[in-house]
């Protein structure tokens, strides 16, 4: 019952990630992979802590290649697909509040372009206020372009 329902409900990539998670927690792999990853995560958190000692908000693009890979024919095993998360995964690992805001369209491709704003822990209000100000400054609010 369990394998049938999970096979039915989850797509290939989700199943892949669940199996990966199970694998790294397994006896014999936990210390080398999962525990090490948790230590690297701690380093990422500390790097952000230093940055937020200097800055209030960090910005980056959301898509690293402006959707070029995402628009390719859907090939599940293209490793570049994992690269799509390049800017969004690190702050997520650190548990930081993030916000993605549309900034207009790419002149060449006509595709929408988005900016990621990253705030410090529990500073969601500052994050939203900053995005609000940017939106007003660049007049990028939907319907106002």
């Amino acid at each position: 019952m369990i394998s049938l329902s999970r096979g039915e409900g989850f797509g290939a990539e989700v199943q892949r990630r669940i199996l990966m998670g199970t694998h790294v927690l397994s006896s014999g792999y936990y210390e080398d992979i999962y525990l090490q990853a948790q230590k690297v995560r701690r380093l990422i958190c500390e790097a952000y802590k230093k940055l937020f000692g200097l800055f209030d908000i960090l910005i980056s693009p959301v898509s690293p290649d402006n959707h070029a890979t995402a628009l390719k024919k859907n090939d599940e095993h293209d490793p570049l697909q994992y690269f799509q998360d390049f800017y969004t995964v690190p702050p997520s690992l650190a548990g930081l509040p993030c916000l993605s805001m549309p900034m207009g369209k790419d002149e060449e491709t006509g595709l929408p372009f988005a900016l990621q704003l990253i705030g410090n822990h529990f500073q969601e209000d500052q994050l939203v206020n900053t995005a609000n100000s940017l939106e007003q400054h660049f007049k990028t609010k939907k319907g106002e372009q």
Partner: protein, 494 residues
Amino acid sequence: MASDDTLPAGWQMVIGLEVHAQISSASKLFSGAATAFGANANEQVSFIDGALPGMLPCLNIVCVEKAIMSAHALGGEVNRHSVFERKNYFYADLPQGYQISQLQEPLMRGGKITISSEDVASKDIAIERMHMEQDAGKSLHDMLVGKTCVDLNRSGVALMEIVSQPEMHSPDEASLYVAKLRSILRAIGACDGNMQEGSLRVDANVSVRREDAALGTRCEIKNLNSLRFMRQAIAYEARRQLAIIDADGEVAQETRLFDADKGETRSMRSKEEAHDYRYFPDPDIPPLVLSAEYIASLKAGLPELPDARIARFIAEHGLSLYEASLLAEDSYIAIYFEDLVGKVEGLSAKAVANWMAGELFARVKEHDVDLSKLVSDFGLSATRAASLLSLIGLDKISARAGKVILDKMLEDSTASAASLVEKLGLQQLGDTKELSPLLEKLLAENSEQVVAYRDGKAAVFGWFMGQAMQLTKGRADPKVLSRLLRELLSGNKK
């Protein structure tokens, strides 16, 4: 001890117990759903217990408090930093696909339980650890043919798992351990210890060995839910293993279940290879960090524990170890006893204890209830019982009359002891002015017996007592009667 319970000379049973005790709290360990026993199936299941996507656990601090108090009561060391981990496995009654438990950093380490009885000399059984975890739901295989029904009411209820060292060597020792553990947890209100309802369950690890040899291979017998079954299961399992060894075989390490109807243990049906539970700290739950002050404050708030109360009953009330154990182990009974002692006139605490152990407990058994039901449903509060006992203590009625009155008091929960005495005419005759004429008449009518007594036939005294009792319809105060009779018989003329 039954011969079934012991092994041949030179052989020793080695028993370790893992006790799962449900924590008495209004809601579950990580969800707000109710924990009350006996609800209809799946009526006490929150979204968290049903593991609906996105639901996050929220720790119930009451459960933590009771677990810490239990740790103190068991003499264990509370870890200031403990971690909740996921124990991953698939089963239909485990909607999360994992049980939140504690492995590497449990709430408590160490501790001990002292057991003693008339047959077993006082002994300490060491505890290895105690941790908190979620209970699973229930799978019911017998409700529908060919199907298993799942009830998630129990899913997520807080459990304490208390693991002993393998220091017990007989079914009796195991039974004493569980009984003492149960009474300690009940005394502090951490667990109601009701094995029939599943509040307390035992897994027994049993192996056998020649005395002083290395430990043998052990088998685990799971989910024993009564002391009687636990004793039977342990005894059977030890003999089963010995039979294998005697036949030059090797005991296989396995998990077994106890079949109560057959009185045997059997291997669990679908046993997969040793599970890799892939324990890892639950990312949704931060580590439990407790301050030393908080831990200490809970220790200060502990009520009197059973062992301390037993010792106090012996010292303060002059009870024997047996009497004290009988009355002090359960808080409700202990409080009732001391309440009685405070209210009864004319009887020593020991006499009150005897009355409880004899008359009162007999009535409890007869009506197939427990003491609290006798109080609530039959109105036998300590105050009401004390009024009866005071009548005995002040020689207003005999002990024998007291038995009759007690039964009447149970039949009619509003009738007072005094009114029943009046109504039934059971007042004790202790007035010498009333008794003397009766006795003199008795002696006068039986002059031959009087002569026989004075000639040295002491047994005649008993006959006279019997006759006098009959004359007074059993109401004479035996002490007064005996004294008067002796005086009259030995020739104290009026």
